[in-house]
């Protein structure tokens, strides 16, 4: 018998030597499902034979069929199932109705084999129904408590000593998986977690992994669940990804109806919003009333409040990292949502079965239809969003992702007898990514990224007379992550980008050259290299540290002005094409310590330094986005830099049903910019002469109590923070509060599921009012009553508060494939009039209209007025999928 086995082995070797490629010999490759947990290889092969009819041949001297392993596959080709055995050193080959297994011949000089005393469990963690990657899902060894989190692609790698393990795989909102495995060799397991759907009758206790919560806490990472985004009422029934950030302590929105937000004392341009790694420069529709992303297209939203990982750079205050859905890998699904404002349709499904999936989402507003009966002069009024994501698995180690986002706003109006005018803006962002597993512990990703923002203010649509501004980026990013063991991760990468700025010129027709020139177009190159390490020093103490080095280089063609000490231009320098004429460098270290004070209590302290090389140039105090331009750091615009130190504690109760965190932070910002009084921002080639530099200081603490799951879930947060600015040339150098300085901020979010039909949400926000600059006196000039000011931001708007309510009724019949629901919501339920400005320049007419006086012959009798965006807004939306 042994002799026969040896002969068979020789035959196998010969066949494998003459076979050019496994795939060429591959025959019928049936699609199967297998759920083999902690079973011997022999058992598994027997079951595969029963399922497929294939018989397995192998050399028993070489292959131990007693090896215990777990394999979980749903509707996968047999070849893929067998490929997972490659981690055990077993390779397969189809031969008619046989499958031949062989052990790879290992060179006696193979260093890895000789020194190998550790084994790696790796793979992906996905949603069982859709196949979507569960970003941040964790796998933990229950005996040691050590765990690792799946990365942005759902990939995990867990390297440990060979022995029997009880692994616990979890993700919030999903039923956890627990397996026992005798991990003797490198093993790949795909975990498919089942979503805890609210209308399931049984109450499923789900919990997050303690290590995951602690690790996220230590890294400063926050996450918003897509279910929370959908539950928080949005304007007129449109759920809003950006505005849902208000649930996070430390993030304050500027005003009602605004997508402008501030994080830990940073100005609005200090926030980087990424959609699958590509920046989106203006994520707003209808001037900010709605935000750009459709909740149904989002897999995951991560938020970093200043202490970003080294792989993120270029902003001082936050990174909002939005990951789009990859698309259902198992079934074709159509879903959608319609509200009074817009309709969204999503299509997703597998493509090239088990190799790829796609996701397409389109949203189109129907504003014009709604206003048509009220006005005839509006020719165009709409906004669109389009998301596309496609991924293709080349093999078990290589995968390609393609992402694209496009958002358009269009408003065109023609008053009788005049030309057509209006506004349009367009965001385009996309990338191609290549995930490559160098081995089970070494994951790399290469991304080609593009992004473009183009804004037009049309004074004559037909003649294409327009003020135009834009910013774009083309970048290459390479990241590599090494997972030697749980608690120890090494990451490194490079980022090479070219940024293009068109800071506002006037064009007529299709001419590329502007007829009226504002600021010269600019180009800048950003080259960054970074690494970050995470090490477990002791079972209680973890350290994270990293470094990012950035070189920012301005490149021609460009016109730069030389300013004197009074900010008057005294010379002009024209730089030719591609000439690098100015470079800033920045070294951005960061270090964080996490200490386990007890089983339920973690403490951390983190210090980080960040730099920012591009600015949104605007002296607007409006809650809406408007005519704004981006400018790069250059000889006249210094890069902003910040140092932030954060410390905090996190408490989890034993079953993770309650978490409490308290964080305190201090942030200093250098080269913080502001503007002189009545700065001339548009069409001004010398706009840099209107900017003044100083420092900003922000400090505060944030408290968050979360009950993340159950029939009732929710959170309560409170933050205290102050942001004080000092700019020697403004306010006579006297410190003043930033216009978004809001000392107190309180937020309450409650979600209640009384039964499978209803899902009820209440959301209450309270913040101190924004600082404003109000006059301390008035004088008269030519009949105009002119205010004058003694101090910037000397006053404060009334406190802001608002209650939003929503209730979702699930209309799905039991057993039906067609899932649908209807959501009723009231934004600002008690109709609080939260002002965004106070004005001293208007009169009340007999008609009741509040207007600016025109007649200057007599003192007009001015009134003080406040403007606010909305009162109570009820709405309804309908969602479906099948």
């Amino acid at each position: 018998m042994a002799e026969a086995g040896k002969n068979l082995f020789v035959i196998i070797i010969l066949i494998s030597l003459i076979s050019p490629s496994r795939s060429f010999c591959q025959q019928n490759d049936p699609v199967i499902s297998l759920n083999a947990i902690n079973r011997s290889l022999e058992d598994i092969l027997t079951e595969l034979t029963e399922i497929t009819g294939y018989k397995f041949s192998y050399n028993p001297d070489n292959i131990s069929t007693d090896t215990v392993l777990s394999l979980t596959f749903s509707m996968k080709p047999l070849s893929e199932v067998l490929s997972s055995l490659e981690s055990l050193g077993l390779y397969h080959r189809f031969m008619k109705n046989h499958i031949i297994l062989r052990r790879k011949t290992v060179s006696p000089f193979s260093k890895r084999e000789v020194t190998k005393q550790r084994v790696t469990l790796s793979g992906y963690i996905r949603n069982r129904m859709t196949g979507e990657a569960l970003i941040g899902a964790t796998i933990a060894d229950l005996s040691s408590g050590k765990g690792v989190a799946a990365n942005g692609y759902g990939y995990y790698s867990f390297t440990v000593e060979p022995r029997v393990y009880d692994f616990y795989v979890s993700y919030i909102g999903y039923k956890p998986d627990k397996i026992s495995i005798n991990l003797l060799a490198d093993t790949t397991i795909l975990f498919n977690l089942e979503e805890n759907i609210s209308h399931l009758k049984e109450v499923i206790v789900i919990r997050d992994n303690p290590d995951r919560t602690a690790n996220r806490f230590a890294s400063g990472e926050m996450e918003i669940r897509t279910s929370s985004i959908k539950n928080i009422p949005g304007m007129l029934g449109e759920s809003d990804v950006i505005k849902s950030l208000q649930t996070i302590p430390g993030i304050n929105f500027y005003s009602d109806g605004s997508t402008i937000f501030h994080v830990r004392g940073g100005d609005r341009d200090q926030n980087m919003i990424l959609i699958d790694e590509a920046p989106v420069y203006n994520p707003a529709h209808l001037l900010g009333i709605f935000s750009a992303f459709t909740p149904g297209s989002i897999n995951n939203v991560k938020i970093f409040k200043g202490d970003m990982p080294a792989s993120y750079g270029g902003r001082l205050s936050s990174v909002i990292d939005v990951k789009l859905k990859e698309g259902n890998r198992n079934n074709l699904v159509v879903s959608g949502n319609t509200s009074p404002v817009a309709t969204t349709l999503n299509f997703e499904g597998p493509m090239f079965k088990d190799r790829s999936s796609f996701f397409i989402s389109a949203r189109r507003s129907h504003l014009k239809w709604l206003v048509a009966s009220h006005t005839t002069s509006v020719e165009k009024l709409h906004f669109n969003d389009f998301n596309l994501k496609y991924n293709y698995r080349i093999n078990s180690r290589n995968r390609i992702h393609l992402s694209y986002y496009s958002g358009l706003d269009m408003f065109q109006n023609r008053e009788s007898g005049s030309v057509s005018s209006g506004i349009s803006w367009l965001n385009n962002a996309g990338n191609i990514r290549w995930n490559h597993l160098l081995n089970d512990r070494l994951f790399s990703n290469t991304s080609l990224i593009i992004s473009n923002y183009d804004y037009n203010l049309f004074t004559n649509y037909e003649a294409k007379e327009r003020w135009n501004t834009g910013i774009s980026l083309a970048a290459l990013k390479y990241d590599i992550a090494f997972y030697p063991s749980p608690g120890n991760t090494y990451k490194a990468g490079i980022f090479l980008a070219t940024h293009f700025y068109s800071p506002g010129n006037y064009y007529i027709g299709s001419d590329a050259e502007p007829v009226t020139r504002g600021v010269s177009a600019r180009k800048a190159r950003e080259n960054a290299i970074y690494f970050s390490f995470e090490n477990e020093i002791t079972p209680k103490l973890n350290i994270r540290y990293g470094l990012r080095f950035t070189a920012w280089t301005n490149s021609g063609t460009a016109v730069e002005y030389v300013y004197n000490d009074s900010f008057f231009p005294i010379d002009t320098v024209v730089y030719p094409k591609n000439l690098n004429y100015n470079t800033y460098t920045s070294l951005e270290p960061r270090i964080g310590l996490k200490y386990k004070l007890s089983e339920n209590l973690q403490g951390k302290i983190v210090w980080s330094r960040n730099s920012q090389f591009e600015y949104l140039i605007s002296n607007s105090v409006s809650p809406f986005t408007s005519l704004e331009t981006w400018l790069p750091a250059s000889p006249n615009i210094k890069p902003m830099r910040s140092n932030q130190i954060t410390t905090g504690i996190l408490f989890n109760n034993n079953n993770e049903s309650l978490t409490v965190s308290l964080e305190a932070f201090y942030k200093e910002m250098n080269n913080y910019i502001s503007y002189v009084d009545h700065a001339h921002m548009l069409f001004n080639p010398h706009v840099e002469g209107e900017i003044r530099y100083g420092t900003g200081e922000s400090y505060g603490f944030e408290f968050l109590l979360q009950k993340p799951f159950g029939k009732i879930d929710g959170c309560i947060s409170y933050s205290f923070s102050r942001t004080i600015i000092v700019i020697p040339d403004i306010n006579e150098g006297v410190p003043f509060p930033a216009r978004y300085d809001r000392p107190h901020s309180f937020h309450f979010y409650l979600n209640y599921k009384p039964n499978p039909k209803w899902d009820i949400t209440a959301n209450w926000v309270y913040t101190s009012g924004n600082p404003i600059t109000t006059p301390t006196g008035f004088y008269y000039y030519n009949g105009y009553q002119v205010p004058f000011y003694d101090e910037r931001n000397n006053d404060r708007l009334p406190d802001y508060h608002r209650l939003d309510l929503s209730a979702e009724l699930n209309l799905t019949r039991p057993g039906s494939r067609y899932h649908h629901s209807i959501r009723f919501s009231i934004l600002n339920a008690y109709g609080r009039k939260n002002p965004f400005s106070i004005n001293f320049n208007k009169i009340l007419k007999d008609s009741g209209a509040i207007v600016v006086p025109k007649d200057r012959s007599t003192p007009p009798g001015l009134e003080t007025t406040m403007m606010y965006i909305y009162g109570a807004i009820p709405s309804m939306s309908y969602s479906f999928n099948f």
């Binding site: 002189v676 109000t774 207007v851 600016v852």
Partner: protein, 264 residues
Amino acid sequence: MRKLFIILLFFVAASCEKIVEWPVENYVTPRLVVEGMLTNRQGLNYVTLTLPVTDPNHEPQPVSAATVAITDGENIAVLSESLDKPGTYIPDPEVAGVIYKPYRLYISISQYEFIADAYMIPVTPLEEFNYYPLEKNPGYYAIAPGQSGQPSYTEYRVEWINLSDPATVHTSIFYTFTIQTIDVNQFFKPNAEFLAFPGNARVIRTKYSLSPGHEKFIRGLLSETEWNGGWFDLLPGNLHTNLSTGAVGYFAACSVVRDTVYFE
């Protein structure tokens, strides 16, 4: 562009503006307010000195007994305080400025001295007078001011007599401006009072040139008044001034053109 915001209002249901009580902090340092105008025409020249008010709509307190003079470096005109209008200083009737000449305003009050420099540039001719009848209000007209090619502003002084009260001359004054900058709040300025005039009104138009410094002052003035209170306000701030020593306001040297037109 305001149409877009009307549409926004439509969508956000009850968005609006309301009158509130809002006490302002009192200023710390009193400032001299100067409204100075030197033109190339006799009788249009004056300097008004007042103090600011702390409450809107209060009558400003005039600053009397100041020494006020204007010089072009060769000649000096001393202004005397008007008996009818305390705080308003006027030169001799024959005094007028000359285009392309620099002027300096000198003010002395107690131990304080204030200086302002201005330069007079030419003004372009008045634009064609455009007006239109109101369909909903027959017999009344509205003025549709034209835009000048150069920075300037035009004062429209409209005078008329109501048949029911023929003894009283009604006067309305408003201004239109041409400046070469574009600002967000200008583009999206709030609604303004609509002025309509009877057909028997006469319109006296006076167009003033704007030097770059004066244009900057006017831009700030508009930003704080006519353009303020819309959906896209800019950072508020004190107006540019050419006055020294902490005074506010502006001393302008403008060449002017004037005409008088009638609706009917």
